[in-house]
């Protein structure tokens, strides 16, 4: 898919890219919160939350990678 044949005007593409950027930032903040909350729980002796939180962070990372690929397809260099 190239910018010319994806059916979007430059303005539409700009909105899409801004939306993707916003989502990636939101997910990144979620990952940061997840890490700090897990560290807090771990230091407090709650060991059960660490692996579910790690898997959740991995899912967030996969989502971010997917969004990054979409951004790359919408906006090739």
């Amino acid at each position: 898919m190239s910018p010319a044949d994806d059916g979007h005007t430059p303005d539409q593409r700009g909105i899409l890219l801004d939306g993707i950027l916003f989502l990636v930032g939101l997910i990144l903040m979620l990952q940061l919160w997840l890490l700090t909350a897990t560290m807090e729980a771990f230091l407090g002796g709650d060991l059960e939350i660490a692996w579910p939180a790690a898997l959740a962070s991995l899912a967030c990372q996969a989502l971010n990678l997917g969004l990054w690929r979409i951004l790359g397809a919408l906006d090739p260099r």
């Binding site: 990952q31 807090e40 002796g45 990054w68």
Partner: protein
């Protein structure tokens, strides 16, 4: 670094438009119609913004990857911590610690300082000596019934080890105790969140 043209600002009108570099400008006008200062900063704004957005997104994705790796590091540390169960250890005889006194010992390892206190109620309590804020050693203030962290003026309740004032938010690590045959034994370490 590019040198300035001999004539500054340049005289675009006298130059061949086909020979000028093709750059898109924010106002949509052609290069000869741009003000002279743009020649000193010949940035393709639209393209530059797109590249920055891509690079910024890549930076965020890589930062997220670092968070994920750290998250798995915490997972591995939790596995190790779950396996490590400290052995019981005799700390002191009951009569060695008068009411209101606190002694400094080590448990579970020789590098883990703890404070064992004989409360006025007659009960014994023991806490890890490291403050839950930044690991400074706390000191007993028996006259106040509190433990103080002098580094950042943090205070803990001596009966429960809970934070009362200052930066610490988590209670001190509690050492589980058992008294058998007049001897105080440490049997475990309890980390607490609240």
């Amino acid at each position: 670094m590019q040198d300035h043209p001999a004539e500054f600002p340049p005289d675009y009108a006298s130059q061949d438009p086909a020979a000028l570099p093709r750059i898109r400008f924010p106002d949509g006008r052609s290069e000869p119609d741009q003000p002279g200062w743009r020649h000193a900063f010949p940035i393709d704004w639209a393209r530059d913004q797109v590249v920055s957005r891509r690079d910024f997104t890549r930076l965020m994705v890589l930062t997220g990857l670092a968070f994920t790796v750290a998250q798995f590091g915490v997972g591995l540390a939790s596995l190790r911590a779950g396996r490590a169960r400290p052995e019981p250890k005799a700390l002191a005889r009951v009569e060695e610690i008068p009411v209101g006194e606190t002694v400094r010992l080590h448990y579970p390892g020789p590098r883990d300082p703890i404070l064992l206190t004989h409360l006025s109620t007659g009960a014994f309590v023991a806490y890890g000596q490291l403050c839950t804020h930044l690991q400074c050693p706390v000191v007993p203030r028996a006259e106040l019934g509190r433990l103080e962290c002098p580094c950042h003026n943090g205070w803990f309740d001596m009966a429960e080890g809970r934070p009362m004032a200052g930066p610490p938010r988590r209670p001190l690590t509690r050492i589980q105790l058992e008294i058998r045959d007049g001897v105080i034994h440490a049997t475990g370490v309890e980390e607490r969140t609240a």
